[in-house]
Symmetry: C2
């Protein structure tokens, strides 16, 4: 009776394929936003553990006040939105959206999407969480290829809202639009990656940074610790508020065009110097590894990840508070 009531209040059914870490995250995010979730796993015995874990996360969120601005405000009701199945056809029945969360392996993705294709309606969106495999690599042979897309979250997705949405050249426009709309509805921050490029957008930008950081260390300009300081106390707080384009817009009296006129030629010179790709590994890799291990040894990585997520949660709460203050100011003006 309770379960039936939950389904009746649902905004729609979402299938989550895979009950590992990412599958659990997505299940929690869909459930608290008011979607009924069926979490599927080929390993039936993992599903009860996954149910316990999602319920526990939702209780923590309620205690931390993180459910207050969600569609469902209490952990018990949100948990009731989640069911499980080890039968794929059953898991997909009546679903409007599917989020695949299997390990990052091309053959595995191909096999899973071939199976999903069998049970897919003409309406369901088939989204993969992959961070690195372009959708055209595992969807173009399918009957429902036009309904396939990538929705790549950032870790941890509760506190880092970005989702990269990447259609293949065969994805229907309305499928991309519906994916973006659902991501917004569950409180995430989607960007549409309009062409399928290696690394998508986030990793391409991250890799550009890592490569230049690597060069600076390899060439003896900065220590690895100092690289992180340049971001923590310099570049990143500003970018977390306004991004790199608005940053340069505010750094010249007449905006972006003015900035390019003043500094463009030298930026191009520096970027020419950056056209040399270093090998990720070897002595420089060891030096960076050892330097970071001095403060975070490998055996303390899990604890440090918990700390990072707590800090990101606190930062996220701070950002919400500031946004609310802004709203109040606007309403008062």
């Amino acid at each position: 009776m309770e379960a039936k009531k939950a389904r009746m209040d649902s905004k729609g059914k979402v299938t989550v394929i895979g009950s590992g870490l990412i599958g659990r995250c997505w299940s929690v995010m869909f459930a608290k936003a008011g979607y009924s979730v069926c979490m599927y796993d080929v390993h039936e015995h993992q599903l009860s553990g996954a149910m316990e874990a999602t319920a526990k996360t939702l209780v923590q969120f309620e205690e931390q006040g993180l459910l207050s601005d969600c569609h469902i405000h209490d952990a018990t009701s949100a948990s009731k939105m989640i069911t499980t199945s080890s039968n794929m056809q059953e898991a997909m029945e009546g679903a409007i959206y599917l989020q695949e969360c299997a390990p990052e392996n091309l053959d595995l993705k191909k096999n899973i999407f071939t199976e999903l294709d069998k049970y897919a309606t003409d309406y369901i969106v088939l989204a993969s969480s992959t961070s690195c495999i372009g959708p055209s690599k595992f969807t173009l042979d399918l009957v429902h290829k036009a309904q396939c897309i990538v929705s790549h979250p950032v870790n941890p997705p509760y506190h880092l809202k970005l989702v990269e949405v990447i259609p293949s050249p065969e994805t229907r426009a309305d499928v991309a639009e519906r994916t973006v709309a659902i991501m917004k509805d569950i409180g995430q921050s989607p960007v549409l990656v309009r062409k399928e490029v290696n690394g998508f957008a986030l990793n391409r930008l991250q890799y550009a940074v890592l490569m230049e950081a690597w060069r600076l260390v390899e060439d003896g300009v900065l220590t690895p610790e100092d690289i992180d300081t340049v971001f923590k106390d310099g570049l990143a707080p500003r970018w977390s508020l306004i991004g790199p384009f608005e940053t340069i817009h505010l750094n010249a009296p007449k905006g972006v065009n003015d900035y390019c006129e003043r500094y463009g030629a030298n930026i191009e010179n520096v970027c020419q110097e950056q056209c040399n790709v270093r090998t990720f590994g070897g002595a420089t890799g060891d030096a960076i590894h050892q330097a970071i291990c001095a403060t975070v040894p490998v055996d303390q990585l899990p604890a440090r990840c918990v700390w990072r997520d707590e800090q990101l949660g606190a930062l996220s709460a701070h950002r919400r508070e500031q946004a609310t203050k802004e709203e109040v100011k606007k309403d008062g003006a």
Copy 2:
């Protein structure tokens, strides 16, 4: 009598050359940290305005609680640490450190440093605030070349603590050490840039990002607004806490070395694709300019800078609070 008392309590005298925006910032930072400051300007009439501005900033800081963890806790006492002079010899007399804040023009820097050289003792540190001119370009002909260095702050320096310290090949090691020590003492976060490279460290990293962001827009992959979203809701909050190297350390079970083994080859592939430098300007520049102007028109840039600084101040306060909580936790453990 009051002025004499202030000087007696001083940690040492600092000369600030130039009473524009950056000179005023530095004067405030040195004064609240307990240094007596003599602000010099060739334009004597600008100095009274600069004194009013620094006094006003200090009052604002006191009201916002930003002086509470400084060496001097009240605005009135801090303001008394600042004097002015339009006589360079007088301004430099007895100073342990000098911070030059003239406009970014190589000939101007050369002229100023030639003059500073005349009045320099064998002890004073002669630091330039330049963001883009390497110290060897304007100091190598001087008698006191071994005492010359660059200390490049980030805007706004009150809330973004990073200072890049760049010695020339002729700078004495103890001069670099004393510069780093003074920057730490005034509450900033210095990194030593061990080789004089074009763009120093912060801008080299910023330019690598801008160039890839530019390519993604030019190639129709992302809109300019979406680029900023990737940073605001994805990359930057994480980097503001742990930097890019610790980020990858936490993103593989066994740390940096493990990350490089898993992802290094693909990172190198993506970075090969990034070895093409685009022109900063033209149609792409206009498109980015127009896109950012849709939310921040050029005539609203000054107001948006005020907003940015307020938000950075709030973020900085949040970070201090979190750091204090961490300290309390540690002490309790």
